[in-house]
């Protein structure tokens, strides 16, 4: 039982990032209070170096640590996306925390730990590792959500997120224990093998898988496990919300994908109906409740719930080998589209936010089109992308998704998806209308990194929509190697 360099190569990005975060925690002590930008820079540098290592691993496929972790196209794809999210998260946070007076070096370290947990999640091929990764990504996020303490709403967000997150963890781990009991192993490959043998208790396995699904449903904010999302997204510092909304969602879906598609294909008959209902409910509830929101953070929170529903659609046909690959690739593509759009939209929110939670009502966006045309144009791009209108990545993502779902024979679900997108047009375009048609004097802040992030995500959202094929092909190759 010796570890070889091959084992370390499998988890190289994760090990590097975790070590970097530990060192940064110490280094931060020696950085004077007024120069915490250095910490931010070092954290971003760590993410960039790790991204380089990850990209150098494209095409390598191997397992390590006694089959507990895997390096494959899927993990590389998801890791790259997570690292980019981390970098964008730091770019958004850098000026924001300073302006809000909550600048502490630990912010960046916690963010790094969270990203490393997310990366481990994408690579885990053993349920024990899935559990550790889940906690490693969640615990820093609980702290980050409460980072603006003693501001009441942030504390409240942190506590609510913690209580419901820990509750969800209980389900995941109880489900995992039942799966372990049914199959006698925690390794995903072992579970597949055991599920095929007739002596395995299907009842225990099904209940276990269902409980794991409930737990992850909480994490990715699927209805009916979404109650925490609006409060946490509203109360947490906006930069944290931006990171949480994409990072935690990407990691949650990556784990769901890995666990369900590779370990529980035998349960697809039972699970498809459940996933169908979850996806439909999530899309409907998220979009309908978003209509009545007047606070932009709360509206985007419900929008993020709705998007969890769209991504869940990609999982519905996972038991059908003919369309499984293309639908999961569509799901991955949608995650990329969502991540960029989401960071951009939250970036605009940060640009308008002022101290003591002012400037967060949708009405505060009135007049933005006249006063800050570029910012308003960027926000328009993000809103169009969230609805799924051209010329944005959101449209392409939805087209791929709906096509895959229809190919899987779930036309009804695709129709619900289209109808809910129509509903969503109402509240997204209301923001656009407010920006251009109403009079107002909005004040924005100018921060180099914030403007760069917003501009970059807007450009990516538009440009990639014109040449989506290469990105989709990358997602497809990532998925092909998964099975």
């Amino acid at each position: 039982m010796n570890l070889t360099s091959q084992d370390y190569q499998v988890l190289a990005p994760y090990i590097l990032l975790t070590a970097w975060a530990c060192v940064l925690l110490l280094v931060d002590l020696f950085i004077p209070k007024e120069r915490k930008s250095v910490t931010a820079l070092l954290a971003a540098l760590g993410l960039a170096v790790t991204l380089g290592v990850t990209l150098s691993q494209v095409g390598i496929e191997q397992v390590g640590f006694f089959n507990m972790a895997a390096l494959d196209g899927f993990s590389t794809f998801v890791n790259a996306l997570l690292l980019v999210s981390g970098i964008l998260g730091i770019a958004l946070a850098h000026g924001y925390v300073k302006r809000m007076g909550i600048e502490r070096g630990e912010y960046y370290t916690l963010l790094l730990f969270s990203v490393s947990g997310m990366m481990l999640m994408a690579q885990a091929t053993d349920l024990i590792i899935v559990f550790i990764a889940l906690e490693l990504l969640s615990i820093p996020l609980y702290v980050l959500a409460a980072f603006a303490r003693p501001q009441l709403s942030s504390e409240e967000a942190g506590m609510k997120y913690f209580l419901l997150g820990a509750f969800a963890t209980g389900f995941v781990v109880y489900g995992t224990a039942l799966v372990f009991g049914a199959t006698g192993t925690t390794s995903l490959a072992g579970i597949v093998a055991a599920a095929a043998s007739p002596s395995t208790s299907t009842l225990l396995l099904t209940i276990g898988a269902a409980l794991v699904l409930v737990g992850f449903g909480f994490k990715v904010a699927a209805v009916p496990f979404h109650m925490w999302t609006p409060d946490v997204y509203q109360g947490a510092p906006t930069a944290v919300t931006a990171f949480m909304a994409s990072g935690a969602k990407i990691a949650g879906f990556a784990a769901l994908l890995r666990v369900f598609a590779t370990a529980f294909p035998a349960l697809a008959v039972d699970m498809t109906a459940v996933l169908w209902a979850l996806a439909a409910l999530t899309m409907i509830v998220g979009n309908v409740i978003a209509i009545s929101q007047t606070d932009i953070k709360r509206m985007l929170a419900y929008s993020s719930i709705a998007h969890a529903g769209y991504i869940l659609m990609a999982f519905v046909p996972y038991g059908n080998p003919a369309v499984r690959d293309v639908s999961i690739a569509a799901g991955l593509f949608y995650l990329v589209a969502y991540a960029f759009t989401n960071f951009g939209a939250w970036g605009v929110v940060i640009a308008l936010e002022k101290k003591e939670e002012k400037g967060l009502a949708i009405a505060d966006y009135a007049g933005l089109g006249r006063k800050h045309p570029l910012l308003a144009a960027a926000m328009t791009v993000f809103m169009l992308s969230l609805v799924g209108l051209p010329p944005t990545l959101g449209l392409v993502g939805k087209v791929y998704l709906f096509r895959a779902v229809i190919a899987g024979g779930f036309t009804g679900l695709a129709i619900i998806g289209v109808l809910t997108s129509l509903i969503s047009a109402y509240y997204y375009l209301r923001v656009v209308v407010t920006m251009y048609m109403k009079e107002g004097e909005p004040e924005t802040v100018r921060e180099t990194w914030l403007s760069l992030t917003t501009a970059l995500t807007a450009i990516v959202t538009v440009v990639f929509s014109l040449l989506p094929q290469s990105l989709f092909e990358w997602a497809s190759t990532a998925v092909l190697k998964l099975f």
Binding site: I128, Y142, R149, L152, S153, E155, L163, G170, V173, A177
Partner: protein, 102 residues
Amino acid sequence: MVPLSWYLIFAAALFSIGMFGVLSRRNAVAILLGIELMLNSVNINLAAFWRYGDVHLMAGQVFAIIVFAVAAAEVAVGLALVISVYRSRRTVVADEIDMMKW
């Protein structure tokens, strides 16, 4: 020997009691206690499954150790959050922590 199902029923009962605690209690610390009960019921399951399965495979035991180690870390963070809320509001009753709509 006591049959495996007894352990499973006991663990399921403990899990349900914990879940009931989380859903019915109003005090954040009591909710935390409920969560701990849920996690500990998992440990009983894991130990039982290990004992009644292949005793030479340590996965069950290792998993149980990891579960309570992680649970301890989680509680450390959770109690810190609860204390932070208590300091600014002088209450940890979930119903009164309602600045935002639930």
